[in-house]
């Protein structure tokens, strides 16, 4: 089953667990009520576009081809054009627009391409969908690993592609639960007897674009902590506990701001009035 099919069924994922913990009302609006977002952020759309380019690059590499930088640029331009041109539901941050991101994307990918290490890891999978069950959670955990590689000694390297406005701190990398979930999934899906290393390939959207690789690992304790947290999240969802975190710095840019205000101010949220 591919990820899009898996996503049709009730499930938890690393991001949904995180979302529930950060603002469970946001989780409800997006994942239970399935309210349409009031807007799409340019960062989200741009990140998706870059992600597709990297996916194409590694797909070609898996086939034994190497995309040249100009091919990468071409693919990006085509994808961004397809994704963003003419859309009025994308909310651009100050100073950004369709054209500026088109230019910036090329520079960002140039930074990534020139920084790519010349490794000969075997690509095992790209966008590898996974699904597994955990005791105490009635619905499966699903997700997809952006890139799964193996080196000559059998070590598995699981990579997640990221675009970010800034470099990551040590703690952000070492405690990121998405990577922990990938390790649990990899162990559940046949890689339990392998050494597993985790990595973020991060394209950093600073004025001068740059790219950083962050390697990390997870212990069994990290896995246990996340599993415990996932159980608590599931417990909250099952009991329909959805607490708005309306003092977060993220509220300002939240795509469910109107729905949240209506909910908090006592009105029954009318989905029809917010198509």
């Amino acid at each position: 089953m591919v990820l899009s099919e898996l996503r049709q069924t009730p499930h938890l994922s690393a991001s949904s667990i995180n979302e529930y913990v950060e603002c469970s009302l946001l989780y409800k609006f997006g994942r239970i009520d399935k309210l349409p977002m009031e807007f799409k952020s340019d960062a989200l759309e741009f990140g998706t576009c870059i992600h597709r380019v990297l996916e194409a690059y590694y797909s070609a590499k898996m086939m034994g081809d190497r995309m040249l930088l100009k091919d990468v640029h071409e693919f990006f331009v085509f994808t961004w054009l397809d994704m963003a041109r003419g859309r009025d539901d994308i909310r651009y941050a100050d100073g950004n627009d369709y054209n500026s991101l088109l230019m910036f994307g090329r520079d960002l990918l140039t930074a990534w391409y020139t920084k790519l290490p010349d490794d000969d890891f075997t690509i095992l999978a790209i966008e590898e969908a996974f699904s597994f069950n955990l005791p105490g959670i009635d619905i499966p955990i699903i997700g997809a690993m952006d890139l799964v590689e193996q080196d000559n000694s059998g070590t598995i390297i699981i990579t997640d592609f990221k675009t970010s406005g800034r470099a990551y701190s040590k703690d952000e990398v070492d405690s990121n639960q998405q990577l922990t979930m990938y390790q649990i999934a990899a162990k559940q899906n046949g890689y339990a007897d392998h050494e597993i290393l985790l990595r973020f390939d991060t394209l950093i959207k600073t004025k001068v674009p740059r790219c950083e690789q962050y390697w990390t690992t997870r212990t069994e304790l990290d896995e246990r902590r996340l599993i415990k947290k996932a159980r608590q999240v599931w417990d909250g969802i099952s009991k329909e506990v959805f607490v708005p975190n309306d003092t977060s710095w993220k509220c300002k840019g939240c795509a469910y701001k109107q729905a949240c205000d209506a909910y908090l101010e006592g009105e029954e949220y009318d989905q029809a009035s917010h198509p």
Binding site: S153, L197, T217, T219
Partner: protein, 327 residues
């Protein structure tokens, strides 16, 4: 700036405390005593990190804020104090816990505990693997697991029997095995390559016989001259029963060596060499933490007794975790 303004600033400046950090560099305390502003006095011009200076210097390059004036006032009056900076306290093994026997250094158990607590121990658990009985030659084996406050666990075993303990502790074999196991687990956690004094078969014997109590991994240090032969030679030597080294070395270490002979090194994942991905992870983590390649080499040598290139896959895993928790 008018003369009146300068006079007013001078009055305010007189109340401020001035500390000198370096030649031409000063810290001036704010009037509330909550902030230190960095003032630089030099031939090229004076500067201060306060908002008043930043605002006014654009209009008037010779502008002097009250903090700069405070330095000017304090210097002739010799009211400048030397600034002292608190050094970040890094865990350190106190020298009093290190003892030298025939030129070789050994760490004492309390020193390992002290260092462990400095780094942050969450728990130490000991499990009895084997009770000493007549049937097994009074051979006690314990496994100790040290858990750090960050959640990493370090585990190792220790053993004791009448032939690898001094006569004074031969009646307390289980406790001795426990102490040795904890010492070994703490050594892994605290990154101490020195053998613990308590691990030795007989301290008096060690003193008499000299310093052959190196960690087995250190013995198999990959001599650059003959890297392929060194480990095999070490294992073979350790496997010889009743050799001087075997008699003096802790029984657990002999056991490790025997195990390493029994296992086919190439086939065992734990004994397989570090993988390319692990190497990249190590260099990536060290770069992000500002640790130089030379420092990494030293850390590996100290912890595992081998060069970076000769790390096993399992040791590389442990080392990656160690780097992850490094500041």
């Amino acid at each position: 700036m008018t003369a009146k303004e300068i006079q007013k600033r001078n009055q305010k400046a007189e109340q401020l405390k001035v500390l000198q950090s370096d030649d031409g560099q000063y810290f001036v305390e704010s009037s509330e005593g909550k902030i230190l502003y960095n003032v630089i006095i030099s031939d090229a011009g004076d500067s201060c990190t306060c908002g008043d200076y930043a605002r006014n210097v654009k209009k008037s390059p010779d502008f002097k804020c009250k903090h700069i004036l405070a330095v000017y006032n304090a210097i002739p009056q010799k009211q400048v104090e030397g600034a002292t900076f608190l050094e970040r306290q890094a865990p350190k093994l106190d020298e009093r816990w290190i003892t030298k026997i025939e030129g070789k250094e050994f760490v004492k158990y309390p020193g390992l505990l002290d260092l462990g607590h400095q780094k942050g121990i969450s728990s130490i658990e000991v499990e009895i693997v084997q009770m000493p009985t007549g049937d097994n030659g009074n051979f006690a084996v314990c496994r100790a697991t040290v858990m750090s406050k960050l959640g990493e666990t370090y585990s190792d075993i220790g053993d004791a029997n009448p032939s690898n303990c001094s006569s004074k502790v031969s009646k307390h074999l289980l406790r001795m095995a426990s102490t040795r196991a904890i010492a070994r687990a703490l050594r892994s956690y605290t990154n101490v390559g020195m053998t613990a004094l308590e691990e030795l078969a007989d301290i008096n014997e060690a003193i008499n016989e000299g310093a052959n109590h190196e960690h087995p991994k250190a013995q198999s240090k990959p001599a650059k001259k003959a890297p392929s032969k060194a480990p095999k030679k070490s294992a073979a030597e350790d496997d010889q029963p009743k050799s001087d080294a075997a008699q003096m070395a802790p029984a657990v270490e002999n056991q490790d060596a025997k195990e390493s002979v029994r296992k086919d090194d190439a086939k065992s994942p734990a004994r397989a060499g570090m993988s390319e991905a692990q190497r990249r992870a190590i260099f990536n983590l060290s770069r992000r933490r500002g640790i130089s390649v030379e420092e990494i080499e030293c850390m590996v040598e100290e912890s595992y007794g081998v060069t970076l290139d000769n790390l096993t896959s399992s040791d590389a895993s442990a080392f990656i975790r160690q780097l992850q928790t490094a500041a």
